[in-house]
C-alpha cells in the first residue's frame, strides 16, 4: 500500500468513499490483503474457545461422541436401522464428525458479527474476515474428532483404501456449506436478532434432513439426488464412501451438493457484502 502511494504522488486517491451502488463487488482482493488479520482472528478464536473450561478441548470430542452413543443405542440397537453393512457406531460417527463441524460452524459464525460488535463499530477491515475466521477455527475441533474417528476405524478394523485421498475435498465441501449458510445468518443476525433463536432449531431440523442416523440408501433414486440439494448429504455420504467403503457411489449426489453449496456461498457472500455497509449502524 505504501509503495502504491509513493509511486502515485497525490492526484489519485487511495480511497474514494461514497454511497455505494445497490450491488457491490465482493472485494476478494482486499480480503486477501487482510489475510494476516484473518489469520490472527482465526488464531484468536482457536486460543480463546476453550479458555476457562474445565474439560478444555475435550469438548470437541465429547459432543459427537455422546451423540454417537445415543444414536447407536436408539437407532442402531433398538430401531435396527440399516447401516450399509458397517458397524452402526462407526457408521454414524463418520457422519457426526463433519456434521458437528458444520453445526458448530453455523452456530458460531451466525453469532460472530454480534459478538464482535466492538470491532465492527470501531475499526475497518473486510467484515467477511469475521465469519470466515470463526468457521476456520472449527477445523481444529474437527481434527480432534477425526482422530477419534481414526481410532474407531482401527478398533472396528475398517480400512479406507485409496479413496481416502478424496476426504479433503469433502471437508472443503463441509467448510463451504458451513460458511455459506453462516454468511447468510450472520448478516441477518445483525439486523434481526431472531436469528439467534432460529439457528438452534435450524440445526436440529437440518440434522434430521441429513443422513446421519440413517443411510441415504433408504431413498429411491430420483429422490436421492433431489435430497442431496442439502449440501451436507454430499458431505456425509462422501465421508462414508471415502472412509468406510460403503457401496453407495456418491458421484451425482456430491455434484448436486457441491453446486448447492456453491450457490449458497456465493449468494451469501453477496448478501453479506450488501448488508455490510449498514453493519456499523445497526449492530
Amino acid at each position: 500500500m505504501m509503495s502504491d502511494q509513493a509511486a502515485v504522488p497525490a492526484r489519485t486517491p487511495m480511497l474514494h468513499l461514497a454511497p455505494s451502488e445497490s450491488w457491490v463487488s465482493l472485494r476478494l482482493g482486499q480480503l486477501w490483503e487482510y489475510r494476516e488479520l484473518l489469520y490472527f482472528l482465526t488464531w484468536r478464536d482457536i486460543k480463546v474457545r476453550y479458555k476457562q473450561t474445565a474439560l478444555g478441548a475435550a469438548w470437541a470430542i465429547i459432543q459427537p461422541l455422546l451423540t454417537m452413543l445415543v444414536f447407536s443405542l436408539f437407532f442402531g440397537r433398538l430401531a435396527k436401522m440399516p447401516s450399509d453393512n458397517v458397524p452402526y457406531p462407526i457408521f454414524t460417527f463418520a457422519a457426526l464428525a463433519p456434521w458437528t463441524f458444520f453445526a458448530n460452524g453455523l452456530l458460531q459464525s451466525s453469532n460472530s458479527l454480534v459478538l464482535n460488535t466492538n470491532l465492527v463499530t470501531k475499526v475497518y477491515f473486510p467484515r467477511l474476515a469475521i465469519p470466515i475466521a470463526t468457521t476456520l477455527a472449527g477445523v481444529v475441533d474437527f481434527c480432534l474428532a477425526f482422530v477419534v474417528l481414526l481410532g474407531m476405524m482401527a478398533f472396528y478394523g475398517v480400512h479406507p483404501g485409496a479413496r481416502v485421498i478424496w476426504l479433503p475435498a469433502f471437508l472443503l465441501l463441509a467448510l463451504v456449506s458451513a460458511l455459506g449458510v453462516g454468511l447468510w445468518l450472520s448478516a441477518l443476525n445483525v439486523k434481526y436478532r431472531d436469528i439467534r433463536y432460529v439457528v438452534p432449531f435450524l440445526v436440529q431440523f437440518w440434522m434430521f434432513a441429513t443422513p446421519i442416523a440413517y443411510p441415504s440408501s433408504l431413498l429411491q433414486e430420483p429422490w436421492r439426488t433431489v435430497y442431496s440439494l442439502n449440501p451436507m448429504v454430499g458431505v456425509v455420504e462422501g465421508f462414508r464412501w471415502a472412509l468406510l467403503r460403503t457401496g453407495t457411489a456418491p458421484g451425482p449426489m456430491v455434484l448436486v451438493s457441491s453446486l448447492a453449496a456453491a450457490v449458497i456461498l456465493v449468494g451469501g457472500a453477496f448478501y453479506f457484502r450488501r448488508m455490510e455497509r449498514t453493519f456499523a449502524d445497526t449492530v
Binding site: M1, M2, Q5, P9, A10, T12, P13, M14, L15, H16, L17, A18, P19, S20, S22, E36, L37, Y39, F40, L41, W43, R44, K47, V48, K51, Q52, N118, L119, V120, T121, K122, V123, Y124, F125, K191, Y192, R193, D194, R277, T278, A280, D281, T282
Partner: protein
C-alpha cells in the same frame, strides 16, 4: 510541496432514527412495518433510486460537509456532543458509509477511534499486541519490528506474558495506546482517546501525537480537551449539528465553538424574566489573565415582581464540567425581585484557571409558589483566560503559583518562586 491528503465534498450521513434508538429489530417488527416498504424499495431499485426512509424518521448526522486537509496538517475537529464529529471520523475510516457526497483520502489511513479495540482479556499482553496490531492494519513483520518499542512505551515488560485480564486499567490502556502509537499511516484519525487514563497517560499520549505530527503525518483529531487541541492542532473545523460552522485558524475555531455553546441558552427569555446583558469586566467578551480577579455582570429585566428566585453564576470548562458555582439568594438583595431592570455584579477572586476558554453562565431560577412551576433562564458568555505557564502545569485544571518551602532540620528557609516554572520543576 504540500498536497491534499483528505478531500471531503458535500458529505452527508443519514441515520434512521428508529434503527438508532432500538437496539435491534425483530422479524415481526419488520413484517408489520412493512410490505409497503418492500414494495417501495423494490420500485426504487428498479428506478435506480435508493430508499431514503420515511420522512420524520431520519436525521442527518452530517450534512453538506466539505473541507480539504493538506498533507502534514494537524486538524482539530471540534463541536459539542452530537455535532457529528465521531460520525465524520467513522465515515472517513470506512466504518460506515456516507449517504451523500464523497471523501477522497490520499494515503494509508489509520483510525484510532478507541484505545484497545479487539483486545481480548484471555490473551496475554504479547498476543494482544499482535492481534490488536493486525486489527489496526499492521503487518506481522511490522509489529515484530516495533514489538520491543511498544512494550517499552507501555512499561509492562515483566507482565507481557500475563493474560490481559490481570492487568490494571492503567497497564491495559498503556499497552493499547502503545500499539496504536506505533501505527504508521499517512493519515491518522484519532477520536477522543485522550479522554481516558490518568494525567500521566494523557501527557504521554499528547507527547506521542506531537511526535507523530512532526513526522509530517496528517492527523485529524477529535477532542473536547481544548488544551490538547490547542497544543497539537494547526487548524480547526467546528461542527455544529452536522454542519461545518467554521474552519480555519485553531484559536478562532475554539472561540467559535464556545460561541456555539452559548447560542441555545441565550434565547431563553421566558415570559416575565429575561437577561438583557452579560459582561465580564464591563466588556461583552471576557478575556482575563489567569491570576487576575475579575467581575462578571449581568442585567435582567422582570416584567412583574417575583416572590422568590435564585441566581447563580457558574464557570464551565469546555467539557461541560462546572468549575466554580457562585449562588445568590434574592433575600441578600431584597430589591431584586421588584419589577424593572436590575444589574448584578459578581466579583471573583483570582481563580488561577488553566489558560484556555471557558464559559461563564448566569442562571436565574424563579419558583412560582402558587402553581409550583419554575422558570429557568440562563445566559452565557465566553471567558478567555490567558496566562504564561509552564507546559507541565497544563495538566492541572488550575494553575496557581505555588510557593515551595524546604525546611532543613529545625531551621527552615522559604524559597520564593517568582518564575512560573519553579513549581513544576520540583520532583514529582
Amino acid at each position: 510541496m504540500p498536497s491534499t491528503a483528505i478531500r471531503v465534498h458535500q458529505l452527508g450521513k443519514q441515520f434512521q432514527l428508529g434503527a438508532r434508538k432500538e437496539r435491534y429489530r425483530t422479524v415481526r417488527d419488520a413484517l408489520t412495518e412493512g410490505a409497503s416498504r418492500i414494495w417501495q424499495s423494490s420500485r426504487g431499485l428498479l428506478r435506480g433510486t435508493r430508499r431514503r426512509g420515511r420522512a420524520g424518521e431520519t436525521f442527518w448526522a452530517l450534512r453538506d460537509v466539505s473541507f480539504d486537509v493538506q498533507g502534514g496538517e494537524v486538524i482539530g475537529l471540534i463541536g459539542r456532543n452530537g455535532a457529528g464529529k465521531s460520525t465524520l471520523l467513522k465515515v472517513l475510516s470506512q466504518i460506515t458509509e456516507p449517504t451523500a457526497g464523497y471523501a477522497d483520502l490520499y494515503g494509508r489511513v489509520g483510525a484510532l477511534l478507541e484505545v484497545g479495540t479487539g483486545f481480548h482479556p484471555e490473551l496475554s499482553g504479547r498476543e494482544n499486541v499482535f492481534l490488536n496490531g493486525a486489527i489496526l492494519g499492521m503487518k506481522r513483520a511490522e509489529i515484530r519490528r516495533h514489538f520491543d518499542a511498544i512494550v517499552a512505551f507501555a512499561e509492562i515488560e515483566q507482565f507481557i506474558d500475563t493474560p490481559a485480564k490481570r492487568y490494571s486499567t492503567g497497564m491495559y490502556m498503556r499497552l493499547a495506546f502503545a500499539v496504536a502509537a506505533h501505527l504508521q499511516p499517512d493519515i491518522l484519525l484519532v477520536d477522543e482517546v485522550l479522554a481516558v487514563g490518568d494525567a500521566a497517560f494523557q501527557k504521554k499520549c499528547i507527547g506521542k501525537m506531537g511526535e507523530v505530527a512532526k513526522q509530517g503525518r496528517t492527523i485529524v483529531f477529535v477532542s473536547h480537551n481544548m488544551a490538547a487541541v490547542r497544543t497539537l492542532c494547526t487548524r480547526g473545523i467546528v461542527l455544529d449539528r452536522g454542519e461545518v460552522s467554521y474552519q480555519g485558524d485553531i484559536e478562532r475555531a475554539i472561540y467559535q465553538y464556545f460561541e456555539s455553546l452559548a447560542t441555545p441558552s441565550a434565547a431563553s427569555s421566558d415570559g416575565p424574566v429575561s437577561f438583557t446583558e452579560v459582561r465580564i469586566g464591563g466588556r461583552p467578551t471576557g478575556s482575563i489573565q489567569s491570576g487576575d480577579p475579575f467581575t462578571a455582570s449581568c442585567r435582567f429585566s422582570l416584567a412583574a415582581a417575583l416572590p422568590s428566585f435564585r441566581i447563580l453564576c457558574a464557570i464551565q470548562s469546555v467539557n461541560g464540567d462546572a468549575l466554580a458555582v457562585a449562588p445568590l439568594h434574592h433575600h441578600e438583595f431584597r430589591h431584586l425581585n421588584e419589577e424593572g431592570i436590575h444589574e448584578l455584579h459578581a466579583s471573583f477572586p483570582p481563580l488561577w484557571l488553566r489558560p484556555g476558554v471557558y464559559s461563564l453562565h448566569f442562571r436565574l431560577q424563579a419558583n412560582d409558589l402558587n402553581s409550583g412551576k419554575s422558570t429557568y433562564i440562563s445566559d452565557s458568555i465566553m471567558l478567555d483566560v490567558s496566562g504564561d505557564v509552564a507546559p507541565e502545569m497544563l495538566y492541572g485544571a488550575l494553575t496557581p503559583r505555588v510557593e515551595w518551602a524546604a525546611p532543613r532540620n529545625s531551621s527552615s528557609r522559604a524559597v520564593n518562586s517568582e518564575a512560573p516554572h519553579a513549581g513544576a520543576a520540583a520532583p514529582r
